[in-house]
Subunit: 111 residues, 2 copies
DNA sequence: CGGGATCCCTTGCGATACTG
DNA sequence: CAGTATCGCAAGGGATCCCG
């Protein structure tokens, strides 16, 4: 019902958000992604791209040139998703110090 | 730097969001959580609770009664996080049909 | 350049059993 | 009631090599 589980499964994979962020600035090539989202492995980059494409968040465009050139760009849906993710990023920035402090306290008590 | 990775590691674990949601209505007991976030295993419930507590998102209060009674409640920080998560949930609701359609198209092309 | 295929290790997580 | 301990499988993901 809540579909939140599905969302986490989709976007919660290790590299998805990083790829979405890297593609936010317009179409980006495979090799550029590989550097932008480093240190992602070639394999995981491919797999994650496929999943994002499958979910309709990314569009893959292959130019039949030589050497091959492939670009990935966000769909409108993905831009909306980014707006929502921005709220999360904002929270993370505002509270990262608090979280770090909480961890220190917790680890100190249990050490 | 971006700390987004950390955030995903923290909140992106399989049950975290469900627990946060279940605890949003005020202090909740271990057993209640177990039912609310079903079908979570006892082990994962404990582990996830510990992690959320460690990050300062949950407060654990144990009452030295018999039988024991333990309650978990959200911290102010966690309530703010929920507001951000609501944006994500909203996106998921608005686009779940689009995602499903995209998958059908993708799977159809590749089958 | 942009992948696919294979190998293998690590991690997450469920099942089960035991405890204060 | 609210955990902890141990086992074991399956998925996630890195390394490497190969290909159009």
């Amino acid at each position: 019902m809540c579909s939140f589980e599905d969302l986490v499964d989709r976007v919660g994979s290790k590299w998805s958000v990083g790829i979405l962020l890297a593609a936010a600035g317009g179409p980006i090539r495979f090799g550029e992604l590989e550097r932008a989202v480093a240190p992602i492995s070639r394999r995981m980059l491919t797999l994650t791209l496929r999943n994002l494409e499958r979910d309709g968040l990314l569009v893959r465009t292959a130019y039949p040139t030589v050497p091959p050139r492939v670009e990935y760009s966000l769909t409108p849906m993905a831009f909306e998703l980014q707006a929502a993710l921005a709220a999360l990023a904002s929270w993370a920035r505002r509270h990262q110090a608090d979280v770090a402090a909480a961890r220190l306290r917790y680890d100190g008590r249990t050490a």
